[in-house]
Amino acid sequence: MSKQRIIVVGNGMVGHKFIDTIISDDSVDYEVITFSEESRLAYDRVQLSYFFSGKSADDLALTDATYYQENGIKFVLNDKVVDLDFANKQVVTQSGRIEDYDKLVLATGSFPFVPPIPGNDQEHCHVYRTIDDLEGITESGKTSKVGVVIGGGLLGLEAGNALVNLGLETHIVEFAPRLMAVQLDDGGGALLRRKIEDLGVKVHTEKATSEIVAGEFCRYRMNFADGSFLETDTIIFSAGIRPQDELARSSGLTIGERGGIVINNHCQTSVADVYAIGECALWENFIFGLVAPGYQMAKVAASHIKGEAKHVFTGADMSTKLKLLGVDVASIGEVHGRTAGAQSYTYHDEIEQVYKRLIVSADGKKVVGAVLVGDVEAYGSLLQLMLNDMDLPENPSALILPTAGDEQASGLGVEALPDSASICSCFDVSKGDIKEAVAAGCTSMSELKGSTNVSTGCGGCSSLAKQVLDSELANLGFEVKNDICEHFAYSRHELVDIIRVKKIKTFDEMLNRCGEGLGCEICKPAVGSILASYWNDYVLEDAHIELQDTNDIYLGNMQKDGTYSVVPRVAGGEITPDKLIVLGSVAKEFDLYTKLTGGQRVDLFGAQLHELPIIWKKLIDAGFETGHAYGKSLRTVKSCVGSTWCRYGVKDSVGFAIEIENRYKGLRSPHKIKFGVSGCTRECAEAQTKDVGLIATDKGWNMYVCGNGGMRPRHGDLFATDLTDEMLQKYTDRFLMFYIRTADRLQRTSVWLENLEGGLDYLREVIIEDKLNIAEELESEMAENIKNYQCEWKTTIESPEKMKRFKHFANSEELDNSLSFTTQREQRFPSSKASAQPIKIIELTE
């Protein structure tokens, strides 16, 4: 008997999931053909928005041609199936291709609904569904200043984020009176709106667009039914989805009144051997517009085709948790008061901008639904309570109140969950599945993701999955390995403790006591940094030389041609005209390429080894000192001009920034540290993107911690408010030393906090409440550090012995003759290198 032939129409996420499920079972062998009208194989539409933060189409791909070929799956791209012939069991494509099937699976998905507004089909009007759409939006963005999203639902807000990322003035126009009308209640919707407006996005609710015409100031003008209008250059429609049922409809399958291919609990349609799954399918008069139910349907259909009927589709939970425009939002269960007798608890903090509402059953025992905006910590616990029909704890309000002290008291311990509890709804991974994977040898999140796919969809369950993993590992008596490298069987935190307690002062001592081999470029700089943090020796002591990266040895940042950059400290970004002239004349004398940095100072590039001490001598004589741009240490304290000049400033931000920069300069840490100080809430110093950010209020300083710009931006968390200068200094001392003591190597404060057990609350307990009783110790360690500060360049140029290092050859006065330069825009640049191949950088982070 020949193999059964399955045709899958549509290669989106759900179609691919079906194929993946069918081929993962080795006991059956099918011939599978899939058709897609798109030019790409399945990709992750849930993560589509990441396309704007740099992910490529390849990054989003869920599969590739090789994988399909290896598994014997035929795929046909760019060819739409246009007819289904159920009598002969054949499909016909646009290009005239005819293929036979034994089983047919329709996974045609949905299409974005574009309201029938006159003028909706113009060049810069888009929808938001495919990579092609996003490419079109990007193109339009290049010639636009203003962008509008029509539709304030979940996807509309994602689209709004895309416009923000493209740098457009962004508006969201919604027909309903609130944002995310389906998932949120009035309170949640209002707070979400406020938060989004704080980010500069303009929200217009209760607006019905009546036409799109040529604009006066922008490309288009949208006229609203109430007589008002809005001008824009680009428009994205995100007014909901409609099931893509055209093919099924024209072929005679039963279709719901408002669209959708009618299916039963096995995902069978009205015709034998034809299935429908995902957003095109209508189950009990309901379309499921999320990926998780689609995946469930894929499993159900696959199991029915295999004749197992092991799974049935009985509806799906539509709870969601996500970050929209940087705002955490979650919705669980039923939130619109349709459950008879339901009552609710509401927590609304207008200061911290947090809204939580928990809706419980009439008897007060079960979770009916919940809305969370601004703080979604409780999502995992509440969802599990609802899905597993568990009884609420005695005092349900504790589930949404801010946790005071004991984290476990209000949260739901993962131990309490039954094995059947679904942890990851995208990939239908239960607690039992994770237990099995751990028993089979998984010991890390990355291994767990690899074997179960948990947290690889929307990622919303990652913290819950990690908790289950950790608790299972602990149950099995595993010790979680955290060794820094092959030479030391310790984590960085443990190395810190060893060095502090045993008062170890050199790498040799360290290696003899608890290491082996010669060390490497991971443990050497890590130990060097810890030694510097605790004993604050001059980093170029002979015993420490081998521990330093070239940047630390030569006190400059090595550039691609082997020359170095020179960055003197300009505390707080304040510089006198005379000093600025010195920088200019030094740069001119040594022909150094000159550029301003993001940290409000001046970077001089292209200095050769022998020039470095001469340059620094001149700078030091003029009153400069090293800026530590080369070190894992305090970089800059960025400030706005503050109350001395600014009409709005409430505090002298520059003066305070200079004070801070001078206090912490030279401090060695696991990674670089940046501060920002803003003189008022307008936040011109962008302090919330720094490791420590200070914003002046009329009552003192608001302190933000663990923000980050760069590759993975993170807004700092508000740590404490209205602090006096003195309290702020105490907290900052403690915070920095606690970070230095406990972080992993090359771990910025942002990632450190995310990995810190107990999170921000725990950090407050340690720093503010001194729960560990170490505040005094941390402060005195910092005081010691400050006392031992020295300008490394000053120490270096004062020592003839150290100066010997600053020449290219140990045995000759000649220079490196391979250097060559070109001139562009009146400045000097390294000549481009012969090798134009991309260079693979060896990652040292793991």
């Binding site: 081999g517 010669l518 490497c520 081998e546 691609k560 045995n811 260079i839």
Partner: protein, 115 residues
Amino acid sequence: MKAELSQEWITICEQQDLTPNAGTCVQFNKEQVAIFFCQRNKSLYAVANFDPIGQANVISRGIMGSIQGKTYVSSPLYKQHFDLITGECLESPEHSLKTYAVRVDDELIQLKEAC
């Protein structure tokens, strides 16, 4: 001319000119050579100073270490590892470093072309 020179040990510098457990760049027969002195296993290594991947004369400024017993230097530019005995790049063997013979003779560091 070069062939003749290569037969001879040539004195380059004094031992005290080298930094323990780190590299030093020297000139030898008009070539740039990176000498590493490992104090822990009392060994000397000499390899070309030119990083074939980063295309710059920087190898002497890399960090030395060991991976499973092999002594290596890690390029300061893009962090590839080069075996200090064979010169082989552990990540991409097609980019290997030339090696030189090196010894200490009466506290003087001497080099010659590897045989």
